[in-house]
């Protein structure tokens, strides 16, 4: 009989790495999503072009390819990253590109009359964005952001392939050491699912939170 407690510890350690990656990756993704998403509706051509290039590039190539590129090719350009840094960078930039389209879509979805009202009230573009457009656009973004966060969580499994000791990697270790395949993989599948559930519940809570006071404003 194998001593499972040690192996469970190993998988839980992996779960912690997965959580870390998800949280840090999401943070970077949110920042990139707003930078690029607002960049796409900017007044300046150069900013728009830059944002579009970023979005198309990261949405156009596979997360897998990006990860390998960051981890194996960047060192030749003199940038050596730890697996965790490479993972967070690739995941954040990739999911951020998807998020940027969500931000742009939500900002565009706010009606003309709101913008006209801002002009009538003599708000600057920055003020209009901060006080009028974004508070209304945010609730529109959240459901899709939730899905994106789950995609990011699922993407973290890929970093095990650049030798980061996340949950999937640890399951492989357990498999190699015990010869048992069903238990480690079944356990991590359940753990991933629980994390995904937690994300979708968390997002629903957040949604209720940010729509507070907006009743009757949204159609």
């Amino acid at each position: 009989m194998t001593d499972w407690s040690g192996y469970i510890g190993l998988i839980l350690q992996g779960a912690l790495v997965t959580l870390q990656l998800t949280v840090m990756g999401s943070a970077l993704a949110v920042v990139m999503a707003f930078l690029a998403g607002l960049g796409r509706v900017s007044r300046f051509m150069a900013v728009r072009a830059l944002a579009t290039t970023y979005i198309e590039f990261f949405r156009g190539t596979s997360i897998f390819v990006q990860l390998f590129w960051v981890y194996f090719v960047l060192p030749f350009a003199g940038v050596t990253l730890s697996p965790l840094q490479a993972g967070v960078l690739a995941l954040g930039l990739n999911v951020g590109a998807y998020g940027a389209e969500v931000v742009r879509g939500a900002v565009k979805a706010i009606g003309r009359e709101q913008r006209e009202a801002c002009i009538a009230l003599n708000l600057t573009r920055g003020q209009a964005m901060r006080h009028v457009i974004l508070p209304q656009a945010l609730p529109l973004m959240l459901p899709t952001f939730g899905n994106n966060a789950i995609e990011l969580l699922k993407g973290t499994a890929v970093v095990s392939l650049i030798s980061l000791t996340d949950m999937t990697f640890q399951a492989q270790v357990v498999r190699a050491q015990t010869g048992n395949t069903l238990i480690p993989f079944a356990v991590i599948l359940v753990l991933y699912f629980l994390m995904a559930l937690a994300i979708s519940h968390g997002m629903r809570w957040l949604e209720r939170r940010v729509t507070r006071g907006l009743d009757g404003v949204r159609t």
């Binding site: 990006q66 390998f68 890929v158």
Partner: protein
């Protein structure tokens, strides 16, 4: 390290071989996903409540867990119970199952978005169930689904490199083996990126065209 064009031409045939497998996996995976999605969608919409609920849970579970782990599961766990699949087949089943759940949601949304009035009108004009589906519901439900399905097709294409983890010799795996044997990573990895970028830029153009074309049908 400098970019070496000679090396690029030297590895090109190997990469093209890999690309063929990538496309093969995408096409079969998509076909399987379309069928599995239909089964899930029908079960979820028409089966008795417990079965519908169970199907809903399965769909949520598959969508909430990483494709990579599912591939490992199919490739490493199933042999324990006597099901030994070749790597490529395991990969296609994994892709089909994973994206089948996404397709199921697209089908469901497409059918549920047909206004109730259409069902009632079909009943009022005394159409049979089959006639209702073929002549009234599906012609209205399918066009809006097409862009969404194409979107997932592109997403799936970009996930095929995961198959390299279960030893399928697709584009990414060929690039990795070339890189490992020559110690040159820049060319193979960049070329893989370029291949994917070119293919998905082409497919984005195609997708826009689909969206425009089928949006028009919807307006009529």
């Amino acid at each position: 390290m400098e970019w070496d064009w000679n090396f690029v031409w030297q590895i090109m045939p190997t990469l093209i071989d890999g690309l063929k497998i990538t496309i093969l996996a995408t096409v079969f995976g998509a076909a399987l996903a379309a069928v599995i999605g239909l089964i899930f969608a029908i079960l979820r919409m028409t089966a008795p409540k417990p079965i519908a609920k169970a199907t809903g849970f399965v769909v949520e579970f598959i969508r909430g867990t990483p494709l990579l782990v599912q591939l490992y599961f199919i490739f490493y766990v199933l042999p324990d119970i006597g099901i030994r699949l070749p790597a490529l087949l395991a990969g296609v089943i994994g892709l089909g199952l994973h994206y089948g759940t996404y397709a199921a949601e697209v089908y469901r949304a497409g059918i549920e978005n047909v206004p109730r009035g259409q069902w009632e009108a079909a009943k009022a004009t005394n159409l049979t169930g089959q006639q209702t589906w073929i002549h009234v519901i599906l012609p209205q439900a399918i066009p809006p689904m097409i862009p969404a399905l194409a979107n997932y097709l592109i997403a799936m294409f970009k996930e095929t490199p995961l198959l390299s983890a279960i030893t399928v010799l697709e584009l990414m795996n060929q690039a990795k083996s070339v890189a490992n044997s020559s110690y040159r990573y820049i060319e193979p990895m960049t070329l893989v990126g370029v291949f994917f970028l070119v293919m998905s830029l082409i497919s984005v153009v195609f997708l826009r065209w689909l969206e425009e074309r089928y949006a028009r049908v919807e307006e009529r």
